[in-house]
């Protein structure tokens, strides 16, 4: 079903020619997986919704297949954001659809044990898997979440399965919010097949169909409050990519939902007069899933440019704190890890068509960071350090990956660990290094899963929002991004954040 939007229902940068004043029932800040679910659900429940997004919508014409150039357009700080303390790259998108435009669409439900742990440790009464399943189900059926079909796995994903089978580890095709994947492996730079059901293609159009208005290139800078009630958000229209501010806007609303992402929402709350912070937990408890990857080189071509970006996973080690996945990134970003210089480097590069890349992500519940505001900027400063115990899990995960590559028949593995030989040529060689004490700075890590900076807690003294996403200190200010997850969901966070957002929307609609 399609409907042509009314004039002014969707606004892009070129459409603004004066200051904007809007009134509505619910304003949602941020159109990522969290915000767009809320916008659609509430618009369909008959609420007058305005969705405000700082980034522009991207059409296929705007995609850049080149990884570096793409990052300067779709990512905040050109994709070069890092944490301080332990220096670790972490990205956040700036576009309609938020992270869903650039992510691999992996949708995994949090394991029952993880959710039960949240309930007991964070005083949550309705956080079990049985409580969340109806919300997971609703999102899954709307987005067509399904396991990646075999015919678009391609060799580099299927080799992962072979490795798991050989070693007796469980594995499965990854369930994704994708319909009609062609296996182009370019989820990061934008799905030209329009198969990935990113929010700009799925939830936002549905919200528009139900009457929601969408302001893009509109950066919220302040939330206005009267007593315990949020009354409006305001900010500036900003030019795509450059962020140059122009017109002002203000949206008055009966309910305000913040879904600007867990690195942006705390900054907005702080800048608006340290809102919702009686617990002093706004911006605290920031967590990541630090990840590391290794590349195996096989005797036969792997045709790595074919295959779902991330098609296979193993949850075998989730109990130990890590998850294993296949991975593909634009060749330019992959090549950054290839060792050597000059002709030696070129010889290594020529092996990429024979390569597969797999990664491990770690639940680092002991490694807590914080989001701090930066002077005269909405970009956050992120402080984060690796806890030694969490790092040990990462180091172990890396060696499991190495073992898997050899089990799948790789002739060598490039791991990127400082202080070890650039490549391992056999599992025996790798084992001679396995016991070596590594430091966090020895392993190349990156983390694109971030959460918990405005965590949910049943006790208002220990958390920012309640189980339904409402800020404890307010009557009508909600948060619906990954910031509300109390700690690591043990698996990729998007699906769980969307399930929570779905529940938040239902709660607002029921008020």
């Amino acid at each position: 079903m399609t409907s042509v939007p009314a004039k002014g229902q969707v606004r892009v940068f070129a459409d603004y020619d004066r200051d904007v004043d809007e009134r509505c029932d619910v304003v949602v800040v941020g159109s990522g997986p969290g915000g767009s679910v809320v916008a659609k659900e509430l618009a369909e429940a008959g609420r007058d919704v305005v969705l405000v997004e700082e980034g522009p919508p991207f059409t296929p014409q705007d995609f850049e297949w080149d990884g570096g150039r793409s990052m300067t357009r779709t990512m905040r700080e050109a994709g070069l954001r890092t944490t301080r303390g332990h220096v670790m790259p972490t990205m956040q998108a700036i576009c309609l659809g938020g992270g869903s435009l650039v992510n691999s669409a992996i949708c995994v439900r949090s394991p029952e044990r993880t959710l039960a742990g949240w309930c007991s440790d964070y005083d949550l009464e309705h956080g079990s898997r049985a409580d969340l399943d109806p919300h997971y189900d609703a999102v899954a059926s709307f987005l067509g979440i399904a396991p990646t079909p075999e015919n678009v796995q391609g060799p580099r994903n299927l080799l992962f399965k072979r490795a798991c089978d050989a070693l007796g580890y469980s594995s499965e095709p990854i369930a994704r919010n994708v319909r009609g994947c062609r296996g182009s492996g370019e989820c990061f730079t934008g799905c030209r097949s329009r198969a990935k059901q990113s929010m700009d293609l799925a939830y936002v159009p549905a919200a528009i169909r139900a009457g929601a208005r969408v302001l893009t290139s509109a950066r919220v800078e302040r939330i206005a409050m009267q007593g315990r009630r949020a009354t409006a958000v305001s900010g500036r229209v900003v030019a795509p990519f450059r962020g140059t501010p122009s017109w002002r806007f203000r949206v008055e609303a009966k309910t305000v939902v913040l879904a600007a992402g867990c690195m942006a929402t705390p900054v907005l709350l702080r800048r608006s007069g340290d809102l919702a912070n009686a617990s002093r937990q706004v911006g605290e408890n920031l967590q990541f899933h630090p990840g590391t990857a290794a590349m195996g080189v096989f005797p036969e071509p792997t045709h790595p440019q074919f295959g779902a970006t991330q098609g296979y996973q193993s949850l075998h080690f989730v109990g130990e704190g890590f998850k294993l996945e296949t991975l593909w990134t634009p060749p330019a970003l992959l090549a950054v890890r290839v060792p050597g210089y000059g002709l030696e480097l070129k010889r290594h590069l020529a092996e990429i068509p024979y390569a597969a890349e797999w990664d491990a992500i770690v639940s680092t519940n002991r490694s807590l960071g914080r989001v701090v505001s930066r002077w005269r900027s909405l970009d956050p400063v992120l402080h984060w350090n690796f806890h030694p115990e969490d790092f040990r899990i990462l180091a172990r995960a890396l060696f499991v990956l190495v073992e898997m590559f050899f089990a799948a028949g790789a002739k060598k593995v490039v791991h990127g660990v400082h202080g070890l030989p650039d490549e391992f040529h056999s599992i025996d060689e790798a084992r001679t290094h396995e016991r070596r004490e590594l430091r966090p700075t020895d392993i190349v890590v990156a983390a694109n899963h971030a959460f918990s900076s405005t965590r949910m807690h049943g006790n208002p003294r220990h958390g920012v929002v309640d189980e339904l996403g409402r800020c404890h200190d307010t009557d009508n200010l909600y948060i619906a991004d990954t910031g509300v997850l109390p700690r690591s969901p043990s698996v990729n966070p998007m699906f769980t954040a969307m399930a929570f957002a779905h529940r938040t929307a239902r709660a607002i609609a029921a008020r």
């Binding site: 042509v4 014409q61 990884g67 009609g180 062609r182 329009r194 293609l201 002709l343 010889r347 590069l349």
Partner: protein, 215 residues
């Protein structure tokens, strides 16, 4: 009394050593200064010399032009930091000489072997900070090298052509920079969604990456 003129003279000498004596680049660059172009060319060719399994050199692949555009595209603070990075790399050999004779020169004046030795020193440094500097620098150059379609074709990593279905979103948002009044599609243009047919590895390449396509 002599201290001030001596200090000024020392400063002038230092500036001359840092910024003077660079050749005029053969191409025009919007962002990179003359001394930066020299450094970028030297580093790009040290990382990616001509020949081997992927024939183009860093310069052939247009790395300096890419770095020039990249610097223009990143936020001002990052641009400043990258320029500092280039400056640091170019002049670090004044303080810690490259191996071999005449090693206390700017990076761009060293021999190709010395440049590689300097890169290797950064990469294998026991200091995490030095390794990060190296990794950042290498990342920018590698992205530049891989932006060249000829490099991707040589590696058989160039993207394929893909027919993009017209979907509901195409009726809602215009390309970036255009107004919604300029949206070209209506309900009559909606086609069937992606059918999930696996990519044809013998099929044509993405037009911008095919032989004779955009460079």
């Amino acid at each position: 009394m002599l201290v001030v003129p001596l200090l000024l003279a020392a400063l002038a000498y230092a500036l001359w050593r840092v910024l003077a004596g660079y050749p005029t680049p053969s191409e025009r660059y919007g962002t990179l200064a003359r001394h930066e172009v020299a450094f970028v060319l030297a580093a790009a060719d040290a990382l990616f010399p001509r020949g081997g399994p992927v024939p183009p050199s860093g310069a052939d692949a247009g790395v300096p032009a890419y770095v020039d555009r990249y610097l223009a595209a990143v936020p001002p603070l990052l641009r400043f930091l990258m320029r500092c990075l280039f400056l640091l790399f170019e002049h670090a050999t004044f303080f810690v000489a490259a191996p071999g004779s005449g090693g206390r020169r700017r990076f761009s004046s060293l021999s190709p072997e010395q440049r590689v030795a300097v890169l290797d020193r950064w990469r294998r440094s026991s200091s995490f900070a030095m390794r990060i500097v190296f990794t950042s620098l290498r990342a920018i150059f590698t992205m530049g090298y891989f932006a060249d379609p000829a490099v991707l074709r040589a590696l058989r990593l160039a993207p394929y052509a893909i027919e993009t279905p017209i979907v509901e979103a195409d009726l809602l948002y215009p390309p970036i920079g255009r107004s919604v009044d300029e949206i070209r599609f209506g309900p009559q243009d909606l086609g069937p969604p992606s059918d999930g047919r696996p990519l044809d590895l013998d099929g044509p390449l993405h037009p911008a990456y095919a032989e004779g396509g955009r460079s």
